[in-house]
Amino acid sequence: MSIPVLVVDDSALSRKLAIRALSSHVEIEVTQAKNGAEALELFEKGLYKLILLDLHMPKKNGFAVLQELQALESDTPVIVISSDIQNETRRRVLRLGAIGVVSKPVLAPDLTWVLKRSGVV
């Protein structure tokens, strides 16, 4: 059975890589968003078992999305996929409720490790 996933990134290439990395591990049904604002709109309309979220995007960034999801008391697991590899960034997104952080370019083993560790799939 496939799991519904929301993939949020302003780069089509990065969305493609994230989808490929994830689909190597589980069967997924993907919805894509190009920025944080679009992601939140889709989130309110759909039921997702997992969100893959970029941080630096136009319109609304990943930090703001995490804050809003926290305010909505969402329990949908979020994995941040970002090129921002500062330790402080990692601390902040985990404080905002992300279950893990994976550096870009995303590789299937890195994503699989976070998914297994967190027990999402």
Partner: protein, 205 residues
């Protein structure tokens, strides 16, 4: 020479390559300052070289005075990176660097800005070259303007080029009035090899 075009997908690919590279550069700056660095989405455009000056003026809108450094590099073809700092950027973070109370602030500022230029330009562009499986070489950075009003002089680096691949990257320091931009541009001869490299990268990953 005919105009070189990049598809939306190729621009997106190059933008993402640069995005990954600036993440590394941002982490280096954060470590130097021991402070959180704000990154933004990089912009990649192919523009006619006579539009570079306008692009530069648009970028520096709202900046009263700026200081600029320059660093040349070679990646298949020679290119130029210009780093632009708001004139008060050094003062805004001098305490993080332990420079407060130092006598010769002007000398310290020059040294720091040249050092930061070398650090950010090389880690950003080397990161990009690494992803594209190339090596890049750099000249030492030099100061090209100190506390001047923004002007259209940037275009002089592209003299003789018909088109430029123009990259804009912004680094900020959280809670501080630190503004810095890296502008990197390549001549028209580099546009086709670079496009081929981006295609190869996208095929291989």
């Amino acid at each position: 020479m005919n105009k070189v075009m990049y598809t939306e997908e190729q621009i997106d690919g190059l933008q993402e390559i640069i995005n990954i590279a600036i993440g590394k550069a941002g982490a280096v700056l954060a470590e130097v300052l021991d402070h959180f660095v704000e990154l933004s989405v990089p912009k990649v455009t192919i523009i006619d070289s006579n539009e570079l000056s306008t692009a530069f003026l648009n970028l520096t809108q709202g900046v009263e005075r700026l200081t600029a450094t320059r660093q040349s590099f070679v990646y298949s073809y020679p290119g130029e990176a210009v780093m632009v700092f708001g004139a008060d950027s050094f003062a805004a973070i001098s305490d993080l660097l332990g420079y407060q109370g130092v006598e010769d602030q002007v000398k310290q500022e020059r040294e720091f800005l040249l050092e930061i230029t070398n650090m950010l330009v090389t880690s950003c562009l080397s990161g990009m070259a690494e992803l594209l499986s190339y090596e890049m070489t750099f000249s030492p950075p030099s100061m090209i303007a100190e506390r001047v009003k923004p002007s259209a002089d940037l275009g002089m680096y592209a003299r003789g080029w018909s088109q430029s691949l123009f990259i804009q990257v912004h680094f900020g320091v959280e809670g501080r009035d630190f503004k810095s931009y890296i502008l990197a541009f390549w001549p028209d001869e580099a546009l086709i090899p670079m496009r081929d490299d981006v295609d190869r990268f996208m095929e291989e990953i």
